[in-house]
Symmetry: C2
Subunit: 285 residues, 2 copies
Amino acid sequence: MTARIPFRDQLLARWHNQQTLLCVGLDPAPERIPEAYRIAGANKGDAVLGFCCDIVDATAETVCAFKPQIAYFAAAGAESQLAELISYIHHRHPGIPVILDAKRNDIGSTAERYAIEAFQRFDADAVTVNPYLGEESVKPYLAYPDRGTIVLCRTSNPDSGWIQMHPPEDPVYLRVARAARQWNTDGNVMLVAGATYPEELAAIRAEVGDMALLVPGIGAQGGDLRAVLTQAATADGCGLVINASRAVLYADPDDPATGAVAAAQDLVAQIRKLQLEIAPDRAVV
Amino acid sequence: MTARIPFRDQLLARWHNQQTLLCVGLDPAPERIPEAYRIAGANKGDAVLGFCCDIVDATAETVCAFKPQIAYFAAAGAESQLAELISYIHHRHPGIPVILDAKRNDIGSTAERYAIEAFQRFDADAVTVNPYLGEESVKPYLAYPDRGTIVLCRTSNPDSGWIQMHPPEDPVYLRVARAARQWNTDGNVMLVAGATYPEELAAIRAEVGDMALLVPGIGAQGGDLRAVLTQAATADGCGLVINASRAVLYADPDDPATGAVAAAQDLVAQIRKLQLEIAPDRAVV
């Protein structure tokens, strides 16, 4: 078995060699999966797996990462299919890192179990983590230097400012950003910063140097790609993992794979155009 | 099938009829489960299940709730055994509510999936929820009025003040407490408030009236029972779900069931004595 390539190195290789910042989020809502998968599959979990594998194969050329959302698998009782999906991506598309979107956390001794769940059981290259319980709760993930720990900072949803923007003069999200920079001694830390709040994206970028940011909220949630790139790209036009889920998965209900690749290619082209505007000399070519 | 008794009513009945505020947390670390279970069980998950069922049967008389910690099951790939354990508690010990300690959360549309996981898939009576993503992320759980939504407020671990106590003059944890009171129109909301921070326990009690609090942190984490009862009990000496996990589960490695019931009975007696000191006329008798 070959040595594992660290998450950060996989990501850099995809950004620069494949020239894409796009991440496809795998949020398979059973009721939105076309009938054909449901007939073919023996159960709900198998339909979810079949659908996701088709989306993965269709969009692999266009992505820097895949991001399965564990809630969709858990609600369907499909943990074994989630493990199969991640294994499928590793074997069929080596070099594309898998971010497990789990947003869990707990006190340190329990967080160790969640790190085992994400990194050993599911073999994810990175996992999203909630910082509400403090540094002690984040450290168990950081103990895996070849895996990514992606800490929620400024999430894309409505109401997220309630804690994250409190108080205005010294908001929680910037405390998280500053701490993340300290935690990043192995280059394995990232932050979640929603496309729907471009001003905070810029403030986060100012705090964290070249740290990579996972940016949800374009597409169905209404975030603006231009604002994301101008506010938060690094000087070389990279530094971002821009996630799209629903806009790719359900682009064409009659032909999900074809719809997904078209939607993904369109996003990559839009991002590429903006990269070249922002950093014409330095953007990856 | 009989109608489900709402979480809140189950809890009140256990407090008053069974005269106990103790919750036994089921955090089965595989390496701490005695060899006998590991030999008997066909796999890691079955050993976990056998161990937990024995603890449940031994301590059922002493508890107002059981609280399985999903991280321990997930790290062992034992979701089916977790579902079996919860079903076992419902059928073997009806009237004892099950709190699924999951501390998950996400944007609203994904939080709906986590609510399905907790309440439909695992059939828990209540679930713990992380508030970092704001009110939009908590509402999907509140939509189940007969289930409990237990929101992290002031957690028991070191470093937890980093976000929760920020800023000192208007700390996040008190914002969460005030919001929880607003959310509690169906009487189905609780807060997590650690025994290790008795001053904040008192401040939370002052904010939330008679709302029940889930209090981890006694036993292995060092929280003080007297401080918990004096700072946070309601006028009738109740209002608390006091959790002990490791101190009960691993009280006697050679005979876990006997050790657990002795440790649980001792905690119940300590709590009862303090209740009678605090509210001699009104404490449940």
